[in-house]
């Protein structure tokens, strides 16, 4: 069989169209449709600024961590190997291992930093995922589809920030307070901070930011008047491991105030 150019293009177009409709086919009743929540339709570019000046006592950190972990039914597992963490703390030298040296001010090195998924612009985890179970949404959020994850843990090897946890054991017995709004996970899938995508898309505030008393600000980088844009314009901020090219969207304010530290910092 021979085929001319037009014939080929026609066939290719037809196959493409068929494949497209097959993928986009979404089940809905007669006359029904899908849509976004009102007000959440304008293009955003989400980012987070962690204002380290506002984190001074152990409670400041714990409040934020609890708010997130309780809301998302993150299990509390004591065995370090099986831990699941969406947001947690570590010291400066472990948070910014490539931006550290031995003569940093004590106020900086002794202060815990909050760590979470960086919602990178160029995320290695989505690059390596073989099933598209983790993917970047147009608004910058790196989402995780627990329904498609095969538990290969390639994303954990790929993530240079240690932001991903695997469910080594059944998490349910370790969920102390059940938030009935959110599902749990099961053994065998990888999970991580979802930037409260389910809430942002419904116009609700991000959990950790809401609990932080202003220490964590989430907003739209596309909007020059948003609070994150203004904070970033005014302060010296760090991102983790910038040299790797993942381009994180979680920024840490480490201005003079933070470095000076006064007596308030926690050990």
């Amino acid at each position: 069989m021979t085929m001319d150019r037009r014939g080929f293009l026609k066939l290719a177009g037809f196959i493409g169209l068929a494949a497209g409709t097959a993928c986009a086919r979404r089940v809905a009743g007669p006359g029904s449709r899908y849509t976004t929540v009102d007000g959440a339709e304008d293009a955003k570019r989400w980012a987070m600024v962690i204002d380290m000046r506002r984190f001074n006592t152990a409670e400041d950190y714990q409040r934020v961590i609890d708010a997130c972990h309780k809301a998302h039914n993150v299990p509390h597992i004591d065995n370090v190997r099986h831990e699941v963490k969406w947001i947690w703390t570590d010291t400066f030298e472990h948070t910014f291992p490539d931006q550290t040296h031995t003569r940093l001010p004590e106020a900086l090195t002794e202060r815990p930093f909050l760590l979470l998924c960086n919602q990178c612009d160029n995320p290695p985890c989505t690059r390596v995922c073989p099933t598209d179970a983790t993917y970047r949404l147009a608004d910058g959020i790196v989402a995780q589809d627990y329904h498609r994850c095969i538990g290969c843990r390639f994303c954990m090897a790929g993530c240079p920030y240690g932001a991903r946890s695997f469910n080594w054991v059944d998490p349910r017995p370790h969920v102390d307070h059940v938030n009935p709004e959110f599902p749990t996970r099961n053994i065998g899938v990888v999970e991580k901070c979802n930037f409260c995508v389910d809430r942002l898309e419904r116009g609700l505030p991000v959990r950790c930011a809401a609990a932080s008393g202003g220490g964590i600000v989430v907003g739209d980088l596309n909007d020059p008047d948003s609070e994150v844009s203004r904070l970033l314009a005014r302060h010296y901020t760090l991102t983790r491991k910038p040299q790797l090219g993942a381009r994180p969207n979680v920024f840490y304010i480490v201005d003079e105030d933070v470095v000076r530290g006064e007596e308030e910092h926690v050990g």
């Binding site: 009743g29 993917y135 599902p183 389910d198």
Partner: protein
């Protein structure tokens, strides 16, 4: 013909095996009690209607749920508007199980009868039931 008896026996055994589910059911099958829609939220409804018509839901709810899942997680569509113009928050636990809060007498009873075991319940759950009884 030689071996006819053996052949007949083989055929009989074959049919016995094929028919075994029916034979077992003759003895053990229980009459099906359909799913109950008797929950506080449904009792309070004026027109007791599901998101779509009952027949449609019965036939299509599994595919609807998968579409809901993909719409919410992959395409950021969190709202489902049905033909009557009613808007529903796309959420298995809040929306479906909000009305059908009796998961065991509704979803499970039907699934047990149909011998399907949706694995969704490894992560999703009926909020009210778990609040009362904890994990099961």
């Amino acid at each position: 013909m030689q071996g006819t008896g053996k052949n007949l026996a083989a055929v009989a055994i074959f049919f016995l095996i094929i028919a075994s589910p029916h034979l077992i059911n003759l003895v053990y099958a229980k009459a099906w009690t359909g799913p109950t829609e008797d929950t506080p939220r449904i009792r309070a409804m004026a027109d007791k209607e599901c998101i779509e018509s009952e027949g449609w839901m019965r036939r299509n709810h599994m595919n609807l749920l998968l579409s809901w899942r993909d719409a919410a997680l992959r395409d950021t569509d969190r709202i489902y508007v049905n033909g009557r113009g009613e808007r529903y928050d796309i959420s298995l636990m809040r929306t479906c199980l909000g009305c059908h809060s009796n998961r065991e007498e509704f979803c499970d009873r039907c699934h047990e009868f149909a011998a399907v075991e949706p694995y969704c319940w490894q992560c999703h759950y009926a909020p009210e039931q778990v609040a009362k009884e904890g994990w099961r």
